[in-house]
């Protein structure tokens, strides 16, 4: 249980689970800042400028935690997976090097943006959000492309266990990259949008129906609502890609044990890995075959027909997959309801029910991100590089990793506790300020 491989996996998993939230916010918030300050410039409505100012304050601390938690990961590559890095550093190091430049750009303009409110002209200040939006989404491309490569290794020739004829560009743009990058990036915008919207929905539910809260809710929700339907398109394309290129992950996601023609789509259910069947699922006939292969009678290869030492544990893949999809549907319903209300009333002034819905969505984007990431990672097991290197071959020879796990567990607890204290205080303070801000004069 506490051997080096499991401890390393637990530590890496904990570190990524922590960091992934902050990287999503780091991608989503710049877009919200860009929009808010842009609208303020265009309409002269200072409510939006105030919005961007307050978000900046929170962004500063969240981005800092994102930067340090990302550093943990870059070190853990070497500390925990030296064999993996020895093999793949030359292949996937390139996008990480590019990510270094993107990170530089992000940090530089974030510094200018955060500390430049009173030093730059309004237009110049707003323009700082452009490199923020671009560099954060490029970072997503570079980092996720490395994960895609682990699923779909490309850009090298294997000779005597060594990678030769390396083509870093081909590795970066492997076949999985477009699917993973688009899905991961959209997820960041959806999660951030709903999280921010949810916070203002709670405020409005508590009776603070200020113009500021209404407009902040509207802006964040608009971002989430635009990206949510797109996420379903990208998810559908991704599933089809997996059906063809990583069929054991596809089968594990669906709890598909038997090879079957006209396989049903399973909603829920409990995969029993001993009896090799998935029980109590709601089955929609033939839909899985269609989703994977665009043919209702196509054959879906079940887990039983793969080498049994090279398949993932379907329980670790199926449940997170269900959670991700369910969260996605919940967000889709709320997003469509918001669109409908806005269209129907020609003005966005959500009622109580919709506000409750939006408030409930606040954490769901992040739940979906974590669950989706579980699906990719557990679904790739036992491989660290699909079909090439097993996870247990990649770990460090060092022992006692469980102690390092313990250290970092405490580090994350400290970070989370400090952050929670500060953000709760921010909420209380905004509430106090919000009363004085209810009637911000419109300039234009």
């Amino acid at each position: 249980m506490f051997d080096t491989v499991n401890s390393s996996r637990a530590l890496m998993g904990m570190s990524l689970a922590f960091h992934i939230c902050f990287s999503a916010i780091g991608i989503g918030l710049p877009l919200l800042l860009f929009l808010a300050e842009g609208i303020a410039l265009r309409t002269g409505n200072d409510v939006y400028r105030e919005m961007a100012r307050r978000w900046t304050r929170v962004a500063a601390v969240l981005f800092a935690v994102g930067a340090v938690s990302g550093t943990i990961l870059s070190f853990e590559f070497g500390l925990l997976w030296p064999t993996f890095m020895d093999f793949s550093g030359a292949i996937i190091g390139f996008p990480f090097a590019l990510e270094g430049f993107a990170f530089f750009t992000e940090a530089i303009f974030l510094g200018i943006y955060m500390y430049g409110w009173d030093r730059l002209s309004r237009v110049a200040h707003w323009l700082c959000t452009v490199p923020l939006v671009l560099s954060s989404s490029l970072s997503a491309l570079f980092v996720i492309s490395a994960n895609s490569w682990m699923n779909e290794p490309a850009g090298f020739v294997l000779r005597d266990g060594k990678a030769v004829n390396v083509d870093p560009i081909a590795a970066m743009f492997n076949r999985a990259t477009p699917y993973e990058v688009v899905h991961g990036s959209i997820a960041a915008y959806v999660a951030t949008g709903f999280a921010v919207a949810g916070i203002y929905a709670v405020a409005m539910l508590r009776g603070r129906r200020s113009e500021y809260n209404r407009r902040a809710l509207m802006l964040a929700l608009a971002v989430a609502a635009v990206f949510t339907p797109l996420q379903f398109v990208s998810g559908d394309l991704g599933a089809r890609f997996l059906a063809h290129h990583q069929p054991e992950k596809f089968a594990a996601m669906e709890g598909q044990f038997q090879t079957e023609k006209g396989a049903p789509l399973r909603i829920g259910g409990f995969p029993d890995t001993a009896a090799k069947e998935t029980r109590y699922a709601i089955e929609i006939p033939k839909l899985l075959s269609f989703m994977g292969y665009e043919d209702f009678n196509a054959e879906v290869r079940g887990l039983n027909d793969f080498p049994q030492n090279a398949i993932p544990d379907t329980r670790l893949v199926h449940y997170p997959f269900q959670i991700m999809v369910a969260s996605g549907f919940a967000m889709l319903v709320v997003a469509l309801a918001a669109f409908a209300v806005a269209w129907w009333r020609r003005r966005f002034d959500p009622g109580r029910l919709l506000l409750i819905g939006i408030a409930c969505m606040a954490p769901l984007g992040f739940v979906a991100i974590e669950a989706g990431w579980f699906v990719t990672e557990f679904g790739r097991q036992p491989w660290i590089i699909y079909g090439l290197m097993r996870t247990d071959e990649a770990a460090t020879p060092r022992e006692g990793i469980w102690a390092v796990f313990l250290v970092f567990f405490l580090v994350y607890v400290a970070l989370a506790a400090g952050l929670a204290l500060l953000l709760l205080r921010e909420g209380r303070r905004s509430r106090a300020q919000g009363n004085g801000l209810r009637e911000v004069p419109r300039v234009a």
Binding site: A107, I108, I112, V407
Partner: protein
């Protein structure tokens, strides 16, 4: 120059930049811990204020070093992180707490919440990180990491718990404190400026003493290093470093503040370059040469081509950042209350 040597030069330049910029932020923690006298509070606030907009950017140099290592020298990266497991974990914890403590403290001021001990955590982490990183570098230079047939054979502790490596750790702290004090002389006026001048003089003497101590120590404890010392290139760079160090002391003494930061930065750059000159052509003394650890030609080429392209946007952005935030702090200035009314 071949591609692998060029990539190794990028690592060295990254280290120098990280020391010159990031080092000054760690030095901030050192002087916040050692703030004393009637203006202790102003010293602390001036340092926090100077660091605010730039520390995250300065931190990225470290990422660049790590990324360059695993892209261009993947096997050496694997060896280094295996051999230096313990000091790197400590440095990492320090980096995390340093950054988080700074951000939490700053944000706490904005929302009027003081989290307990952020200042103390910030200072301890700021000292621990350069200490352990310096020890790790000392272990690399001292020749105490043994690698046999691609596997690290040295233990968890012995490569870096050597007198030579420990002095390297202390040198790293001295470098950080020296840079911060020197930079702050142009970021402050009046009595506060005098405070930083005094600290700069003390730190430059400490740095000189420690580097002088390191040389005889190397003969006794790190022969891999000392054996390579008496060659033209290392001697030349080292002499330049000594001259520049004396210059920095002189300009501090004569209060020629405009050139204090560049001279101090050049001193540190030359000290680290001297270390690089001693190591060359080895990446990890005494077992791993640059050429042996390098990735294939295609990877190095892609990496080297990407550098100038990335730098086209990086260099002007960096200049913009540092020029936007280079004002002076007077006697009683409060911390920058940013994004607030």
């Amino acid at each position: 120059m071949s591609l692998d040597v060029l990539a190794a030069a990028v690592v060295l330049v990254g280290l120098i930049a990280y020391a010159m910029f990031g080092g000054a932020d760690f030095g901030g923690g050192v002087w916040i811990a050692l703030a004393a006298g009637p203006r202790a509070r102003q010293q602390r606030e001036a340092i926090y204020r100077a660091m605010g907009p730039v520390w995250e950017t300065n931190h990225v140099w470290l990422i660049l070093i790590v990324v360059t290592l695993f892209t261009a020298f993947p096997s050496a990266f694997a060896d280094l992180f295996t051999a230096l497991f313990v000091p790197l974990v400590i440095a990492l914890v320090g980096i995390v707490f340093r950054g988080a403590a700074f951000a939490f403290r700053h944000y706490g001021q904005l929302v009027a919440t003081r989290l307990p001990a952020t200042g103390a955590v910030f200072s301890v982490a700021s000292i621990l990180t350069p200490l352990t990183m310096g020890m790790a570098l000392g272990a690399v230079a001292g020749g105490h990491i043994s690698i046999d047939g691609g596997a690290v054979t040295s233990g968890l502790y012995e490569p870096w718990l050597h007198p030579f490596a420990i002095v390297c750790g202390l040198i790293a702290i001295a470098i950080c404190g020296f840079l911060t004090a020197c930079y702050m002389t142009t970021r402050s006026v009046g009595a506060l400026q005098e405070d930083f001048r005094n600290r700069g003089r003390a730190a430059s003497l400490a740095l000189g003493a420690l580097t002088t101590l390191a040389l005889p120590l190397a003969w006794w404890d790190a022969s891999a290093f000392s054996d390579r010392l008496l060659r033209p290139m290392p001697l030349a760079v080292m002499s330049l470093a000594v001259v520049m160090g004396v210059c920095s002391l002189a300009v501090l003494w004569r209060r020629v503040y405009v050139i204090v930061p560049p001279v101090a930065a050049a001193t540190v750059a030359l000290v680290i370059a001297a270390w690089g000159a001693v190591q060359y052509p080895y990446l990890i003394l005494p077992d791993v040469k640059i050429a042996d650890a390098a990735a294939g030609h295609e990877t190095l080429l892609a990496f080297i081509i990407a550098l100038p392209i990335g730098s086209v946007s990086l260099v002007p952005s960096l200049a913009l950042l540092y020029l936007t935030f280079s004002e002076k702090t007077g006697g009683g200035a409060e911390a920058d209350v940013v994004g607030d009314h």
